[in-house]
Symmetry: D2
Subunit: 312 residues, 4 copies
């Protein structure tokens, strides 16, 4: 199995301008090693991020060149496994960052919250913070960032956007498939920012941040028209919108899901009506430069035309 590491040589933008880290063929399963959101520089609760100069947030492994991927295609990323490669995770409350305080974009005059690190002990399939050992929670690792490169832009690894990026969506986990638009030849695939566990919204701005090894398999789809990221789980079809204000992220996600349902044979107004009664919506993050919302439909309700042949 091809193994992709790039110790110390990470990208802090999703872009075509970085040198290619590896080339992969569709159908080949590879493993990618990713560093945590702090570049591995925070090891103890006394290591305050506000006092450490890190090269950037959310270091990315990649770009991976996918042979045969052409602009206009969709890149399907099958997530086979995610293994956490450290026995602790790091979170923090950070000044001028997070969902419940003033930030760079929601500028305020209030004094910011104090910087504080939380080190979680990973113990088997659970993690806990020492002050709340009785509140150990199950791990549910997923990739916080996953993206292809835009046509011309170089997008910060803090940002979720049309091609994925820092969506912080817990559904990007083993067993699921992520569909991303391809804008440049070779797709230029990136991933990183693994979270051992995260609640909806990644509220304070930092989940239980860990390095990991991700096993992935790529597929190139010529027939799917993906404007925003889509996700398929064994039970659901999903679409992710990333924007501000949050209702615009929601609108994008629903419209992309309706577009997908249209590809499956749904009339647009019937899909709109059906989602009203059975659709589901979850919140990726409410802390990044764009917020991410996920619109979902249970596959039990997605089969518009009984017996119709379709890909899914």
């Amino acid at each position: 199995m091809q193994s992709i590491r790039q110790d110390g040589n990470y990208s802090f933008v999703f872009s075509r301008y970085a040198p290619i880290a590896a080339t992969v063929r569709p159908g080949e399963t590879i493993e990618m090693y990713t560093e945590d959101a702090f570049c591995g520089m925070i090891k103890e609760e006394t290591d305050l991020p506000s006092k450490i100069e890190r090269p950037g947030p959310n270091p990315q492994t990649g770009p991976v060149y996918i042979s045969g991927a052409m602009p206009g295609d969709t890149l399907a990323v099958h997530i086979r496994a995610i293994s956490i490669t450290r026995d602790f995770g790091i979170s923090q409350i950070s000044p001028d960052f997070g969902g419940l305080q003033g930030t760079h974009f929601t500028a305020m005059l209030n004094a910011p919250l104090e910087n504080r690190v939380f080190k979680y002990i990973i113990d088997g399939d659970r993690a806990y913070h020492p002050i709340h050992r009785h509140l150990a929670f199950e791990l549910a690792p997923f990739m916080g960032t996953i993206a292809t490169a835009p046509k011309l832009e170089a997008v910060s690894t803090m940002t979720p956007f049309e091609h994925g990026g820092n969506m912080d969506v817990p559904d990007i986990k083993p067993g699921n498939t992520v569909y991303l638009p391809v804008a440049v030849e070779g797709a230029y695939f990136f991933t990183g920012d693994c979270h051992a566990r995260q609640g909806d919204g990644e509220l304070c701005g930092t989940a239980v941040e860990v390095p990991c090894k991700a096993e992935l398999e790529f597929e190139i789809i010529k027939t799917m028209k993906t404007a925003w990221p889509r996700i398929e789980s064994p039970t659901h079809f999903m679409a992710v919108g990333s924007a501000r204000p949050m209702e615009d992220a929601a609108r994008i996600a629903w419209c992309e899901l309706i577009a997908w349902m249209g590809e499956m044979g749904w009339d647009k107004m019937h899909a709109y009506q059906m989602l009203t009664q059975v659709g589901e919506m979850s919140l990726g993050n409410m802390v990044d430069t764009n917020y991410s919302m996920v619109a979902k439909i249970d596959k039990r309700y997605a089969n518009a035309i009984p017996g119709a042949s379709r890909r899914f």
Copy 2:
């Protein structure tokens, strides 16, 4: 059991200005009959709401005077049962209303969507639309509106606000308890707008609308300081924020849940951190005059201080 009906004499505002419909003692279980959001005037798909003059949307049963409720108290409403009292439900796509088109408040120059009624057949514990009979879904009835009266305002039954109102939150269902602030003596309780089933966001603006009979029991709590509605289920503590933009609804919900956790012994920063890793958030509606978001914590993670005695 006291039975409250007010055929034809509904309220279209949550307010202290309406005549009292009934008086109820804490601890007494009552039943309240509510009409559907269309005042029962839509019976067929050819009855277009845009052509029918109804007295108002979301007719409310109430106000119910709760003996002993005083300003500053919290009214706990235990929802014992909800029975749908009709064998069909009505939804619609409406011009200039709903989550994915221009509206009165998100004013646009585009042509509005056409008015279209969808009549759902209720068959046992499931409902279906005739064009998608194979996609029958399970019923999950809940009260779309539930509220106490504000101190001075009279709030439209389209609006969710600090005292509840048109939150369209599916967790307001049998087995759960809703906690509402009391602003006037007697609380002036209202409910209505039962939904046989609704997806997250009530996307097109209208769920499967039905009349119902709700069985409720009231409790007055002198010690809980409720700024925004709270909900308790067997498994979760929740708080509801209603505002625009949607991120402000989310912020309110999280802050109210953190306040509640504070009442249970949590340090504010620890609660903020814990919710980041295990908190849940769902969307009530993204179509009303305010959007409603629900912040939740599983009770397994809410016990800050092991062994501490507390109400919940």
Copy 3:
């Protein structure tokens, strides 16, 4: 001239539920005395509002019953004069309120700003704060609140809405006319919250607050279809939208102005295009429960069809 005062007996909602304070005929000029936003209870910088219990914010004089006003009409309010009736104005920075800190609706965990009163000396046609006497600014008094009653709701005097309310728009000043929708017989007119001077946005939440005497003349227009407040100055046509997020307030204001231009003979797409090149937009407030934006067109550019006869 009829003089309307209601010392101590103010309304804190815009509603039809309050007893009528006076009845006025169209064409009659009246004077209305209004109290300042603090009910006159703050006289020195040591009088902290956070420590004083006032009956409510923005006390309103009214409701004034306008003879002959019927639902569906437009009430034109000609503002003849505003006289400040005190030699000082009061402002404050308030905890959990204002444009640049967390608030009740933009809930945050940061510590709030400290409460601080600023007393301005009014000296002829200028005012100054003693610490910046060299920065005296000109007075530009206007009515912060002006409204008719809604059909059923009672709206807080903190809120700007379809019928006006707490818009905090400096164009509501002597020489200009405000057009308001009429929803109840007699219109139920209110005004208050005079500002001796205010910058765009009323940034910290409190302008130079003063009591005043306003001279007003009313006119009932049967032919104008006003969905949101409109303003006419000698040089401009304007419309006010009040909503959140701020872009929705802007969208409403532009759409209402385009509707008005339509009544003057403009094709909707041409109006949209013309406003793109010559339209003006200002910010009423960014601190209240809704934000207010004002869309404007210079009358020099508003004459779509040369020589066409129209009201304006």
Copy 4:
């Protein structure tokens, strides 16, 4: 005078990745020729942009390398003159774009508006559309885009951001100075997207678009700490915030202006209070990927400490 043209070889991102177009020394006045937002491809009202494949929107002239500019510096751009180099300007109403319809980011199901081109005749210091010749308006040319390169990102020329970009702020005009943060050695300066005239908000998304020649002089300031673009006119200090929702753009602009006032000797709370009474705010655009708001203070009110020595 050095003249910078790059016919056909424009940049469609603000970035350090493009080859340097010219090198300029501080104090040197240069002229830069810019193409219109449509790459000059629309010449008649029958040339529909939706049917023409242009390389991108808002072609940029640059990057210009400013000798001596280092990361952390501020680049002052003195706009000496802007000459329109064509006798007509092009605007359009575009499907799925603009302030009053659904867009890529405010996704809607409504049918989009039809594409329509408006060709304006430029006649001396005025322009008019043939259907409204009597409504000719004065030209007020300014640069819609002006930026330095970010540290790592490549930002679309549709986007306004921390370093300027597509702000569409009419104050970026002859006689004024724009202050931009420098993130890379040489600053990498870009400009383009000249508007012969634009209303507040650039409502439909396209102003009167023209090619131009801009005369500029650069200055490097080592002592000013610019987080977001600042503008100085003979009468005002200004700061530009670009974000969504619009209130966040406003908050950024006010906070940056308060920071600037702090550099001039103002206490933060006094500046906040003073702006509440005399501050001004205008809207750059409400149509791009971020909205731009401009906070302003008249220099008459900006002198906190009489007689204090300061740069401005």
